[in-house]
Symmetry: C2
Subunit: 184 residues, 2 copies
């Protein structure tokens, strides 16, 4: 359908601008301009700018976990998969200019909105459980118990990505990976 193409183009453009520039600094004008669609077409597909934001978050969440699972699928051991979590996110940051986690970013801008807040929590909690699942499959004895190791990996990775946005590089995420390596 032709309508889908327009809707996708709106969402693609908005997603890129929301992440690259920020949500509030991105105006409707710029979105319709860069997506090359009419003003009212946007409001035909999305009820409001907030609605567009929620669609962006939902799609980002879905794509994020799909890409993650595709990346880990070829790996055989859970240890390799845990280490690949870092490579996955470092690679994504490299490709998108080190602007950090989408959900950390939007928390800083629009977390007063309850619908946004809920989506952020769901995303991060799912990732935490994803890690926990992998940790429980590892056979080796660790110096930390399963829950502590899960928390450590999660915290080190989130800290590394957040600092990566503040320094515009992946050094801290790489350091986080090395620390996890010594904890496994």
């Amino acid at each position: 359908m032709k309508e889908s193409i327009v809707k996708d183009r709106i969402l693609d453009t908005a997603s890129r601008l929301f992440y690259d520039q920020g949500y509030h600094v991105t105006g409707i004008n710029q979105i319709i301009d860069e997506a090359d669609i009419a003003r009212a077409s946007l409001y035909n597909h999305f009820a409001s700018k907030t609605d567009l934001l929620l669609a962006y978050l939902d799609r980002t969440h879905d794509l994020w976990f799909r890409e993650l699972e595709n990346t880990l699928a070829p790996l055989s051991t859970s240890r390799d998969k845990l280490l690949a979590l870092f490579d996955f996110r470092i690679q994504r940051q490299r490709n998108s200019g080190y602007r950090g986690c989408h959900f950390n970013k939007i928390t800083a801008e629009a977390s007063e909105d309850e619908a946004v807040f809920q989506r952020v929590k769901v995303h991060k909690e799912r990732f935490r459980e994803f890690i926990r699942h992998l940790v429980k499959q590892t056979w080796h004895r660790h110096m930390l118990d399963d829950d502590a190791l899960t928390d450590a990996i999660f915290l080190l990775l989130e800290g590394g990505i957040a600092l990566g946005a503040m320094f515009r590089n992946s050094e801290d995420a790489e350091k986080a990976k090395r620390i996890v390596l010594s904890l496994l």
Copy 2:
């Protein structure tokens, strides 16, 4: 001087609103309204809204390290001081509604601005070196070398605070502290 009082009130109000609501969502109108000053008074003391933002970042940076040093001063061992870093930041988050690190927040909104970007880097780098200095003073043997332990503490703490903003609690920062406890 009377002028200083006005200037301080502008900066106090702007700082509160920038952190609580966000930078872009806070308009000049709201600042002059809540600070109860005239429109032109703001532009008499600050050249632009960006200038006000930079003043906010500079003052936050200065106050942050002064409070940190005051908090750690009564403690005798560097081990206690390292653990108190977590308490310091958890307490600050508790008192300010869990909106996370000021510098992480502004990175998400205005890191394209080179002057903002520089201040964020300086703040975080100074904190990293602050941690490193304490780590080097600890006498016990660690399972990680000094640099790795410094990175681990830094990453775990930053991760914990960032997640605290996303979940609006201090659970992850508390977990980070416990993990550091087992690493020391």
